[in-house]
Symmetry: C2
Subunit: 479 residues, 2 copies
Amino acid sequence: MSSASAAEVIIKPQDRLQERFSQVIELLKQHRLLEESLAPEHKHAFLEESLPILSLQKKLSELHPADIAYILEGLPLEERLLVWQLVRTENDGDILLEVSDAVRETLLADMDNHEILAAAKELDADELADLAPELPKEVVHELLETLDDQQRDRVRAALSYEEDQVGAIMDFEMITIRENVALEVVLRYLRHLQELPDHTDKLFVVDKEGVLQGILPIKRLLVNDPDKLVSEVMADDPVSFRPEEDSNEAAQAFERYDLVSAPVVTEEGRLIGRLTVDEIVDFIREESESEALSRAGLREEEDIFASVWRSIRNRWAWLAVNLVTAFVASRVIGLFEGSIEKLVALAALMPIVAGIGGNSGNQTITMIVRAMALDQVSTGNTTRLLRKELTVALINGLIWGGVVGIVAWQLYGSWSLGAVMVGAMTLNLLLAALMGVLIPMTLVRLGKDPAMGSSVMITAMTDSGGFFIFLGLATIFLL
Amino acid sequence: MSSASAAEVIIKPQDRLQERFSQVIELLKQHRLLEESLAPEHKHAFLEESLPILSLQKKLSELHPADIAYILEGLPLEERLLVWQLVRTENDGDILLEVSDAVRETLLADMDNHEILAAAKELDADELADLAPELPKEVVHELLETLDDQQRDRVRAALSYEEDQVGAIMDFEMITIRENVALEVVLRYLRHLQELPDHTDKLFVVDKEGVLQGILPIKRLLVNDPDKLVSEVMADDPVSFRPEEDSNEAAQAFERYDLVSAPVVTEEGRLIGRLTVDEIVDFIREESESEALSRAGLREEEDIFASVWRSIRNRWAWLAVNLVTAFVASRVIGLFEGSIEKLVALAALMPIVAGIGGNSGNQTITMIVRAMALDQVSTGNTTRLLRKELTVALINGLIWGGVVGIVAWQLYGSWSLGAVMVGAMTLNLLLAALMGVLIPMTLVRLGKDPAMGSSVMITAMTDSGGFFIFLGLATIFLL
């Protein structure tokens, strides 16, 4: 160990990655300058082995596939494809797995079937299954033909599960042992394997039929007397999962019990795969991202360098929904045009009632959705929760409504207008609380994701409801 | 291994947990019935050893601390404290670490200093540091006095870092070895330790001064010839972190390189702790939750059984901000009361312009915030991004504005009103795109979190801006 390597360890990984990214950008810029300076007829032959391109190739060959994926994500399409052509190696498959769906599509579009096949061949069965839905059909077909029976069955099995099921994120790289052998034998067996799969923190103990009997944590293998039998040392009640189980529940169990890997078994207890924490981390990150995106009304993650047309399509669905709800709110106001004509202050005050109702309803719904995700809401406590939310809304309505009412009174010199504001604010906040509890609960009862679209729905309710309540009260009491 | 244990492994962990939770609820209900049936004078003596209470105690003693934490989270205050009194054991500290901040507060409020001290004594230095900020000052003081020098220094060190720094989530349970010994010796040393810390997937190789020289993955220890030296087998360029680094960057590196544990070193390369994937998973989950909460305007996670008063305080700050922005929007409308009086259709149409602008702006800002979190936005590509977002806004504005304009024309029989709608929608969507890019970038330049409050700000802009643009255009062209 020279002092150079000791110095190396103290560079922050993020800084190192940023630095490499800048180097790539710099080399691409040099390449571009060179390209522009050349006469068209020399371009092709020369550019392929230009100095910047050669250094770039060298640089890229030293990088982790995940780092190359990161760099590809950050580059505009043209540069991205240039870099992609330079890295085409046996790591292609790994890089394709690491990039986001949107970027993967741009990379695959640039490859012919032969190249895709070559990249995919290097992958494990579970990784192939991840990639398969996005590959051309004929490539998948050809790929399956090149696999042996076990691998093909595994790919087929993994493909048969929904995206959010345990079966879709499990892998098959588990090491199995028998319970009636000594630890010494296990140690020798491992040495014989020469390489262990990543995230091997435990070995799986199975019987002749492949039924899981227990697990042998590597920790126990290391600290126990090698003469002991596996059955004496193993844990016989491990946390295990079923392939059809919801990945979200598996993620919660990984978090709760701090797992690194866990067995996946059939109903009869036969070991068929394992879950590892790296897949769980990816799953958690994807879940929270897709939640943030869908809450904002984006259909999917967006490549920031996506074409304008793609971006527009990605954003249309929810803008259309929003357009409909906005029209409904507009027609509600239309009902009261006569009142507004008589008292134009109503037009200026009505967005306050609707806006604060929407904000308050979003607070309630976020809280309830979160509690539901943690399984804290059961039929037993719905009434209690609803009562609490309504009380909070009543108090907030009276207090904030009071503030708004006083300001309205001062602005427009009418205490009765102020009183109508207080009443409307209170009623709209109560509506927001009621809907904030009922919307996610109804969605779950209908088998839907409680977060999906809940923000649009609650805002639609509090907008139309707020306008109706405020203008209705004003029409009754002021005109 | 009887067949019973093989059967046990196929129960889903989540179902098992739910079942236990139901059993606890059932026993609590029986206890409550018993309590109500007793005459007041018998209550105290009898209840403490009633049958339901004894079964409950037994049930709880078999549960993992994380499962008890889960059950405590789901119980209303009174039942929660009853259960908490029953589980008071050496696991108290672990349970306190597992529950949410809001629930922890209710549990600590129920303990005297002596009990808190007893619970905290069982914890490791890093766990103590996690808990310390929420404990009474005198307890922390007394606790530090009972620790040995090394432990005390570790607690102090961990406490000296911000919540989002690596130093605050690292632990100190690393196993260190020297590079000039044989693997055989390492294996004997581990056996001698009798127990290894959780998440030990690698050993840390240090020199006499404690400077990190490399890491020895357990995998390599297991598969290599025991006669080899550590220096021959170790990896000498591991991913390592600095204690003052941002935890978010560490989380990204864990995701990218699929790490289970990683060393934390000082600027000089001295090993001072390690990060483990379980802490990273908790960190990622907490980050995404607090982001969802702050986007909805909640100050912190809320115990769903929190008192009404606590809930109101948790939600006030943002409702107040929202009130101010709603008033500004209201005053913008106030400027145009004369126009609305002349053409009351404006009052019904203006929320459409504002609402769709808000929705579109939120889409842009969510996309940009996500890209910034992944470090994909640099000064080099800002202009390109802005140009793309403005193009998307222009096209969406013309198309959706066209739809809205046609409907307005049909409804109110005025093509010029329709034309004003098209113009106002387009301009407001352009404003939304501009602000959706500029707000998060400005926040970051000011050293703030780009997600924080961005939704309120963009909505405030598109509301006031939308009203101003629409009513302004209408006043110029229609009146």
